[in-house]
Amino acid sequence: MVGRWLRLGASWAAIIVAIVVGVRAPRQRPELTAQVGQILAARCVRCHGALKVSGGLRVDTVEALLRGGDSGPAIVPGRPRASLLLARVAAHEMPKDGVPLSDGEVALLDEWIDLAAAPRPDGRLAVHWAFEPQRLPALPATGHPIDAFVDQQLRTAKIRCRAPPAERRLLLRRLSLDLTGLPPTEDEYRRLMDDAAADSYERAVDRLLASPRYGERWGRHFMDLWRYSSHEHRVDSKNKALHSSPHIWRWRDYLIRALQEDRGLDRMIVEMFAGDQRRDAPDDALAATGYLVRSQNTIDRDSWLTNVVDHAGRAFLGLSLGCARCHDHKFDPISQKEFYQLRSYFEPYVVQTDGDVAHAVDGPVVPTHLFLRGDPRAPDPSVAIQPQVPAVPGHVACCDHLPAPSTGRRLALARWLVSDTNPLVARVLVNHVWLRHFGRGLVEVPDEFGVRSRPPTHPELLDWLAVEWRKHGWSLKWLHRTIVTSAAYRRSSSSAGLDACVTKDPQVRLYWRFPTRRAEAEVIRDSLLHLAGALDPTIGGPEEATERADDSPRRSLYFRTSRRERVPFLDVFDAARVEECYRRSETIVPQQSLALLNSPFVWRQARLIADRHGGDHDFVPRMFALVLGREAEPAEAALGSAFLAQQELLLGNPAQARAYLVHGLLNHNDFVTIR
């Protein structure tokens, strides 16, 4: 069914509300239905939807349009001229906000009523795709499942060209950066290049996934997603508030360890939400609740718990629950009451510090109140709030095993998150992992799966991955392995000679080539240290001061990071902001050029790299291969040699000239790019 939610390409917005799917009338056009859905959702649902039913009319399902409101049916199938909906918008009587629909929008409605209101064979109305239960879609072809789905979409879009497989060396660099955040060393390159066996690539994947560097790399991704922040004292008006905890790094180390062990995201979620409430919890489950410690704000409990609920919603459900704090959500089916019901799962928890572990623990149960208009000074005594998960329409049978209202609340919530009936969590997390391999999600905005979100580019692929991933014990390593062994992942990122594809899909949404992205701040800094042979392999431990970042060989994720404390070199390359970072920015600004050109840190690594290889007779081509992960073209090698000679002449110092060559390559666009 979901396969009928066709991609909207570069057109302006997304499929929104519940729309009929499954219609197989001969003239039916799903993309038209989608466009109409987005018009209705953007312009009409506010007053004619779940939250407000002006004139007795709802427009969020076709059934409701047929049923109509006080003035009668809103649409008459096949008869646009007889349809009130069309008459009202065409006469600019609706919408009432004073901005009429454009002629084009009216024409779409007209066409849709003319074509689309054919009888539906099953009479079923679908809910928004993300709230549909996950079902395992049939594979459209044999071979790698990802490629089967990707090829299907490419065929539908009539895109015939495919970029060839990436050069082996470049592919190994891509893979290594993706899985470990570090480029291969010369030895690692040689190992793959010399291995003629058919499964040499798969073995490289396994080696990298087993590397201790993997946990650090993906730990940092989840630190973004779950808002890792060093502690800080912030002065709000007169009072000093402690945010996060000085021991928060224990949670960071937990993440690294759990990912390295491939513990399964379902277990990790339960441990992070309720590691203190499980009898059979592993030793580090208390540290896992650092997830909740992070939001600590010692003078503003309301803001603390609002953050916990809002960001849990965005990180795991892809829903911006925070909107429902003051009022029913304007678009998504989340009422204000449901926001406070979710909050009540967290209401009893406090932060307790034992030794050097800060963790969540339940204090006495305090009642949760609905705050009128979100104002904590205005509790509504008429509404009783009990722990309850949102009743996402129609499908989630979630609420029958709910907790006794005393303790174990967070455990119950976590179990609901990872239960088979939850339609969202696996989809949202799979999308985050995909985003970090391909530079873009199957769903464009990774924290927005609500009814106003754009539909996935590959809905069936998303569901296939989500279902299979759960079957494989929510194993991230299984998911990585599945993704990186696909042909789509292994394609070259070059579009040379593929003009027809560039024209049809300039944004590379359909993966006819590998979409490149800029390396994250940490990857750039850590790669420099690694190539210089200077990287400190120590895993975990207390946080490093930001002032030491230029001198310390520790990996970048170990430095303090808070609202005010940032490592300047990382900051200029868009390091995660601690308030929220569901997706990194990828800016390209002159300040980055100056950081790479003029930073003493970069120069020190360039000199170290040059000195390690200084005696080599084929210095120039070897440096291309090491720094950029590919052989130099003859013209490039010639240019490099000329530059080396020129700088030697100018500076009268061969070692310094070699450092310049390496430094120049470190400033190459390909060095900061995951190709």
Binding site: A10, W12, A13, A14, A42, R46, C47, L51, K52, K96, D97, G98, V99, S102, D103, G104, C326, H327, L372, R373, G374, D375, A378, E448, R454, S495, A496, V502, T503, P506, T516, P568, E579, E580, T587, I588, V589, P590, Q591, S593, L594, A595, L597, N598, S599, E636, L639, G640, F643, Q647, L650, L651, Q656, Y660, G664, L665, N667, H668, N669, T673
Partner: protein, 476 residues
């Protein structure tokens, strides 16, 4: 123009390619009245009824509820819209004006007493009192800059279109510069100065105008000589251009090459632009640099003038951003009197100083100054404060208001001393010459010589609403 012809130029020094030449062939360029724009954005929502559209009726009706005033004032239909979300506008009492106002300038335009200095420049302004927008939350900041609600498919920001559409006047500086604390995610995030499909080389470049922080990585710290660095830059540029043959559709590569060229130039141009010691003490005072309260924004305004002087096309200043208040400091749900008094005190003198300085240098003829905010504020008390026993301390704020608010433009190609459009008696609805935010975009683009109806990007569509229409009534 076919996309690949443009990008196929990559290996051949395409970075010098001025897009406006190509656009000119397509007819998107007309006679320009302005060369540059200074865009002053007040984040949080500035009260129009206590700003550039004073409403004495609020004093007359103070204490009444809007729906007690009778149908003559507001249409019932429109009131019902307010029930959505937090904005239960008509449930609370009308708040009287929190400040006085008077007629200013030869034109005798009413401006509130919170804007004495900008009010003194009113004979140079074209005030538009009939703006509306559709996003009731602070993501209306994003909407004002891109023309679209944050939840729709994002569009490039206005400054990015300007950067894309116009050639550079100075290759040592970015075309599009941003200062001030940028919008929080609640305000729609960095999209307000991003270029999206126009390519990252058209993103606004954020700078810190503090001379000690403007260039954290300096060449003389590492390079033995300028010549050594220059040669290295040449090496890097040529390598990147060679890579352009492999990756002909790579926008990031193109942007990277440009970032190195500008970065190199910025090493000398930027410290010079922010060196306000080169300005006379009189000029510094004009912008309020002599007073702590006006100094931060005054510094940004003066740097903006210096950047425009050096050829920057679009300088965007965010005022009111605050890492600890993601709504923006102009947001005044409570204690509007104190908050607006404090905020206007920060910007009134710097903005007036900027206008006077541009004028006396003859720059105002070719520089467009826009003063903008994401929405206005309600005529009545903010409904979010709980009903109950009157508490004068909390019930003196106004809520967000999207149905009518004010902005102004001044300078190149703009009429002087005019008021355009009007709201109703309460300042509730824009009732005359209503303008959506993209009408401002269209006006700015038009004055720069870009035809908003024709400006586009291969493979991307802008819809009718995006393009807006030029506000011809305020053009000189």
């Amino acid at each position: 123009m076919k996309r690949r012809h443009f990008l196929g130029d990559m290996g051949l020094g395409f970075t010098g390619l001025a897009l406006h030449d190509l656009l000119a062939a397509g007819g998107a360029r007309a006679a320009a009245r302005a060369d540059s724009v200074i865009w002053l954005f007040m984040m949080g929502g500035v009260s129009h009824v206590e700003g550039f559209d004073p409403k004495p009726a609020l004093n007359r009706h103070a204490g009444k509820r809007i729906n007690e005033l009778g149908a003559s004032t507001l249409s019932e239909d429109r009131l019902t819209l307010q029930e959505v979300g937090p904005q239960l506008h008509h449930e609370t009492k009308i708040l009287p004006l929190q400040v006085g106002f008077g007629r200013r300038g030869a034109a005798g335009v009413e401006v509130s007493d919170w804007w004495p200095e900008v009010g003194g420049c009113v004979d140079d302004l074209a005030i538009v009192r009939s703006m509306y927008t559709t996003d009731t939350e602070h993501s209306a900041v994003f909407q004002f800059h891109t023309g679209r609600s944050q939840r729709d498919a994002p569009q490039p920001s206005l400054g990015a279109w300007v950067s894309y559409g116009l050639g550079s006047r100075n290759e040592n500086l970015p075309r599009f510069v941003v200062m001030g604390t940028p919008p929080s995610s609640h305000q729609g995030g960095l999209g307000s100065h991003q270029a999206l499909y126009l390519g990252p080389s058209h993103d606004g470049v954020a700078i810190n105008p503090d001379p000690r922080a403007v260039l954290p990585f300096r060449a003389d710290a590492v390079h033995p000589s300028p010549e050594a660095q220059r040669r290295e830059l040449d090496f890097i540029r040529r390598l990147d251009q060679m890579a352009g043959v492999r990756y002909p559709d790579d926008q990031a590569l193109k942007a990277r090459i440009r970032a190195y060229e500008i970065g190199y130039g910025m090493q000398s141009a930027l410290p010079d632009a922010v060196d306000l010691g080169k300005e006379t003490p009189e000029t510094q005072r004009l912008y309020g640099l002599d007073r702590p309260v006006t100094r931060p924004f005054g510094q940004q305004c003066l740097v903006a003038r210096r950047l425009v002087e050096k050829g920057v096309r679009f300088v965007q200043l965010y005022h009111g951003g605050n890492p600890d208040n993601d709504s923006g400091d102009w947001d005044s749900h409570e204690k509007l009197r104190e908050k607006h008094a404090a905020m206007t005190a920060q910007v009134d003198r710097p903005i007036a100083g900027l206008l006077k300085d541009l004028k006396r240098r003859g720059m105002l003829d070719r520089t467009l100054v826009a003063w903008v905010t994401e929405f206005g504020r309600t005529p009545n008390v903010d409904a979010r404060t709980p009903c109950g026993p009157p508490d004068e301390n909390v019930r003196t704020g106004r809520d967000h208001h999207i149905y009518g608010f004010s902005i102004w433009l001044a300078g190149a190609g703009i009429k002087k001393g005019v008021v355009h459009g009007a709201t109703d008696e309460l300042g509730f609805h824009a009732v005359e010459h209503r303008h959506y935010v993209t009408d401002v975009h269209a006006t700015v683009l038009h004055l720069l010589g870009l035809e908003p109806q024709r400006l586009g990007y291969p493979g991307q569509q802008r819809l009718a609403l995006d393009r807006g229409r030029v506000i011809r009534e305020i053009l000189a």
